[in-house]
Assembly symmetry: C2
C-alpha cells in the first residue's frame, strides 16, 4: 500500500496521485445521517465530521478503534540566535518525559484511547542555523521525511502528529512567511513565552532567514529543507503517508500546520484527509488555519504543541462517529418525524 520513500519525487507523486474519499461511502453516510433519531442538522458539525470520516474510511458506519499519536522531536540550530525562552537541552529532557509518561500528551493520548509513539530525531545533531545556511540538505530532509513516513501504523484509523523542539515556532514562522508572504511579524509569536525583546529578535531572525533563502516561494519541499526542522519534516512525512493510506488526520497547532502547509504547497488536495483539531494561542495560527481552509474544532487557548490540542479533539471526532454509527434510525426506534 505505502510505497518506499526512495526519493523526494516519490513523495510528490504519492501526494498528487492518492485517491480521495470514497464517494459511495460518503453518500451512504449522508443518507444514514438523515434517518437518525434527531431533528435534521441538530448535531451540527458532528454530522459533517462523521460523514467526512465515513468517506475516508470507505465505511458507511465506521468506528474509531485504533487512533495513533506520534510525537517527533528535533533540535534547531537557530536557537543559537536566542529565539527561545527555554534552553535546547529541554528537547532531550522532554523526550525522556514522553517516554516515562509524564507529559501532557501522554495523559491526553491515554484519555483518547490512543497508542502513542515517540521518535527523537538526531537530537545531538541540530539542524543548521537557517539564518546562515539551509537548515537541512536534501538528504537530511529525505531522512527525516522517511522517519515520519514509516512511523504511521497502517492499521491505525486516525492519526495525530505532535512535536517537541526548542526553537521550532521560529522555524514554523519562517515556513509560513516563505509560503504565504506577508510580513515576518504576521507569523511570529511568543512560542513558549518570549518577552517583547525576544519577540522582536525572533521576528528579525524569521525575516532574515526567509530573505536569505530567496523570499516567498511555493516550493514546499525547498521551504521544508531550508527553514524547517527534522521533527517538522517527519510530521509532514507522517501526514503524507496517512494521505496515501486513507487514514484521517487531526491537525494540531502552529508547528503541525506549518508542516501541513508544505504538503499543501506540493499538492492542493494533500490535506483533504485532515481536519483542524484546535486553534492555538500562538499568534499566527488563526491565519495559518485560514490559509489551509480549515475550521478548528476547539479554541481553548492552548499553546503547548506535543499534539495536545489535536489529541483533545480526538474525543470530539469519536463522539461524532459514535453518534453516527450507534444511533437508531426513526424507523428502528418507532419515532415520528417532523410534521
Amino acid at each position: 500500500m505505502l510505497p518506499d520513500l526512495i526519493d523526494l519525487n516519490t513523495l510528490r507523486s504519492a501526494l498528487a496521485d492518492s485517491a480521495t474519499a470514497d464517494a459511495t461511502a460518503t453518500q451512504a453516510a449522508q443518507a444514514r445521517n438523515g434517518q437518525l433519531t434527531k431533528p435534521p442538522g441538530a448535531l451540527g458539525r458532528l454530522e459533517d465530521l462523521a460523514i467526512w470520516y465515513a468517506g475516508w474510511r470507505g465505511d458507511e458506519k465506521p468506528r474509531i478503534a485504533k487512533p495513533q499519536v506520534i510525537v517527533f522531536a528535533g533540535n534547531h540550530g537557530v536557537t543559537d540566535q536566542g529565539v527561545s525562552a527555554f534552553p535546547p537541552e529541554v528537547t532531550v529532557q522532554m523526550v525522556a518525559n514522553f517516554q516515562h509518561g509524564g507529559a501532557a500528551i501522554n495523559q491526553l493520548a491515554a484519555e483518547a484511547g490512543a497508542r502513542m509513539d515517540v521518535h527523537a530525531l538526531e537530537l545531538d545533531r541540530p539542524t543548521a542555523d537557517f539564518t546562515r545556511a539551509p537548515a537541512m540538505s536534501d538528504a537530511e530532509l529525505l531522512s527525516a521525511l522517511r522517519i515520519g513516513w514509516n512511523a504511521v501504523d497502517p492499521e491505525a484509523d486516525l492519526l495525530v502528529v505532535g512535536e517537541m523542539g526548542i526553537g521550532n515556532t521560529t522555524s514554523a514562522a519562517a515556513i509560513c512567511h516563505a509560503l504565504f508572504g506577508g510580513a515576518a511579524a504576521d507569523w511570529t509569536g511568543r512560542g513558549t513565552g518570549v518577552d517583547d525583546a525576544g519577540l522582536h529578535l525572533k521576528t528579525r531572525v524569521v525575516a532574515d532567514g526567509v530573505a536569505r533563502h530567496g523570499g516567498q516561494t511555493d516550493d514546499g519541499l525547498r521551504v521544508l529543507a531550508h527553514l524547517g526542522g527534522r521533527e517538522i519534516a517527519a510530521m509532514a512525512g507522517a501526514m503524507a503517508a496517512a494521505r496515501v493510506l486513507g487514514i484521517p488526520v487531526i491537525l494540531d497547532g502552529f508547528i503541525c500546520c506549518a508542516a501541513a502547509a508544505c504538503l499543501q504547497a506540493i499538492a492542493p488536495t494533500a490535506l483533504d484527509h485532515a481536519i483542524a483539531g484546535h486553534q492555538s494561542a500562538e499568534s499566527g495560527h488563526a491565519e495559518l488555519l485560514a490559509r489551509l481552509g480549515k475550521q478548528p474544532l476547539l479554541a481553548l487557548n492552548l499553546r503547548l504543541g506535543e499534539g495536545s490540542g489535536a489529541a483533545l479533539a480526538i474525543s470530539i471526532l469519536k463522539g461524532a462517529v459514535a453518534c453516527h454509527s450507534g444511533m437508531a434510525t426513526f424507523a428502528e426506534a418507532g419515532v415520528a418525524g417532523a410534521d
Copy 2:
C-alpha cells in the same frame, strides 16, 4: 449530606447556605499547576478547568471516575399552540429510544464513560398551557424538583443533566424572557426546526405567556412553576442537589441553562459549581450564557438537547484533569525551566 426536599424553602436555603469550593485544595492545585512540565499557561483553559475542579472536589490531584448523565423528559401543554415542528408523541417515543440505547446521548455518555439515567415525568399529564394558566402548581413544581434532587448519585464526581420534551424551547424562552426582560424575540429560536411562520407564532406565545404571568421578575421559583416544565424543574432540582453535594456540573444547551438561570435567580452563587459545556445554535443561548457569566467550552452548532453538548464536553474536562493530576513536575522529570 443532602437534606430531604420537603418544601420550596428547603431548596432556597440549601442554595443560599451551601459551601463554596475548597480554598486550600484550590491553592494547592494552583501551586501544582505551576510545577508541571510545560511552559506557564501553555495548556490555556485546561489549567483553569483543572484548578476549578480540584477546588470543588477538595482534592489537589483529582480524577474523574464516575460522571453521571441524567436525562429528564416532560410534556408541555403549550404545544396546543402549535409551537413545535414535531408532535408531542415524540417525547414518549424518544424516552423509549433512550432506554434502548438508540439516541445521541446514549452514544456520547458511553464515549465519556458516564453512567446514564432516564427519568420520564408524567408524560401522560402535560403541564398546563402557560398562555392560559400557570404551567404547574407549587405542589407539582415541588414534585418535579424532588425527582431531580433525588436522581443525583451522591457518589458521582461530575454531573450532566439533559432533557427531552416537545415544546420545551418555548418554555425555556419564556423563562429567559421573564427573568431577563428584553423582547420575546431575543429569546425565541427555531428549536427542533420551526419555519418562519412557526417562529413568529412561537414568539407571540412566549410574549403572551410572560405577560399573563406578570412580566419580568426575579422570583426564580415562580418563573419555573408558571412557565417551566416538569423536566426543566427536575434539571434545576438535580443541579441544586449537585451544588449541595459539591458535585461539579457541566451545563448543556438553552433549556438546561434556562433551568440553571432559575437557580441563579434564587441565589447568586447557585451555579458556582457549574461550567458551560457548549454554545448551542439555538438563537438565545449565547445571550443566556452571557447572563450566567459562563464561557462555553465548545461551539459546534449543536441544537439537540438531551445533554449532548455537555456530554461531549466531559472529555475536555477529563483531559484537563488528567493532565493536571497525571503530568510530571519539572523536578520529577529532571526538565529545565525557562531561562
